[in-house]
Symmetry: C2
Subunit: 199 residues, 2 copies
């Protein structure tokens, strides 16, 4: 049984790489078969459909991300530290599961239309609530600036962080930890030099 599961996992992993590189819709079952060393028809012995493969990849990814977020929030009481932990957790997720993350980023519209992922919007709303609660707590306790709009801040943070998966590559100029800290620094203190703008 372990052997079969391994084979399944191998096929799924190489399929995820293809989905990430070319987009889900543009990846054919023939290509998935080629990458796994079998013919497309044989895929249907392991999976019921191409969309079922996509669903399995994305579900596992979301489950993992949810777990990381829960640890991040539970590990701190200060909202600023919680927010920083959420940012770090996001970058670590994107480092550890780049293929699934890229699928999630690039093909959200496709995923929403997959029958088995009809609860996707609900899951994503849960992530959003986690971030916004932390931001709101920061404002309420005076750690964050009072003028901030939590929803808008969340959206800018989210959209700044996740596309990193498209340009970050392991072993290149930046390590993911460095990028995470630069992101934290930028969003915590802003661009402007204090003396020049806060007079």
């Amino acid at each position: 049984m372990g052997k079969d599961d391994d084979r399944r996992a191998e096929i799924l992993a190489s399929a995820a790489d293809l989905f990430a590189a070319k987009g889900v819709a543009s990846t054919t079952v023939r290509e998935i078969g080629d990458a796994a060393g079998i013919l497309s028809g044989s895929l249907y012995h392991h999976f019921t459909s191409k969309d079922a493969m996509v669903e399995e990849i994305v579900r596992e990814y979301l489950r993992d991300l949810r777990a990381r977020y829960e640890v991040a929030v539970a590990s701190h009481s200060d909202p600023l530290e919680q927010l920083r932990a959420l940012i770090r957790a996001s970058f670590e997720s994107l480092r550890d599961q780049p293929a699934a993350c890229e699928i999630y980023q690039n093909d959200y519209r496709y995923l929403r239309a997959v029958p088995g992922l009809s609860d996707l919007d609900k899951i994503v709303a849960g992530f959003q609530a986690t971030w916004i609660d932390v931001i709101q707590a920061g404002i309420d306790t005076g750690v964050f600036r009072a003028e901030l709009d939590p929803t808008i801040v969340y959206r800018f943070l989210r959209d700044a962080i996740w596309p990193t998966v498209r340009w970050y590559r392991t072993g290149r100029k930046y390590r993911i930890d460095d990028i995470a800290e630069k992101c934290i620094g930028l969003f915590t203190y802003g661009i402007a030099a204090p003396a020049a703008t806060r007079a």
Copy 2:
């Protein structure tokens, strides 16, 4: 002649809406025909192919954005004001041409593969250079914090701004000018309340 051009422009505008809403690859020529009130075959009297339509939409959009950026940079000498003008110009572009902008955001991979858009990467590199030059000037003149990495700052800014086109809708809770100013405030000063973190 004017009549023909109008008809062309109408078809192109409704096609752009479809491309933006469903994605370019998922939009069929039959749907484009339906939206224009003609059959798919008749489209080929006005355009040589579906990709030719896409190319025309995107080229016009990029030309307009380039012009806005040039005005933004030329109108100021202080790097902080130049950066703010670039941010405002981006949001105004996204407000005035939401369909083309969304295509550009969502279907970049598709666009890169369109033969007629083989210079796309080069054009985009020009945009990037404009932003990075301004950020570097801000650091050099001491207006921006010295620790900043211009390339990274550019990427976070770019990725925070453009996805706005996906959730912003005219006449809703926020006007685009408000969103632009909130973006400027967030990236200029950061999240942290000064007293709490700068001690």
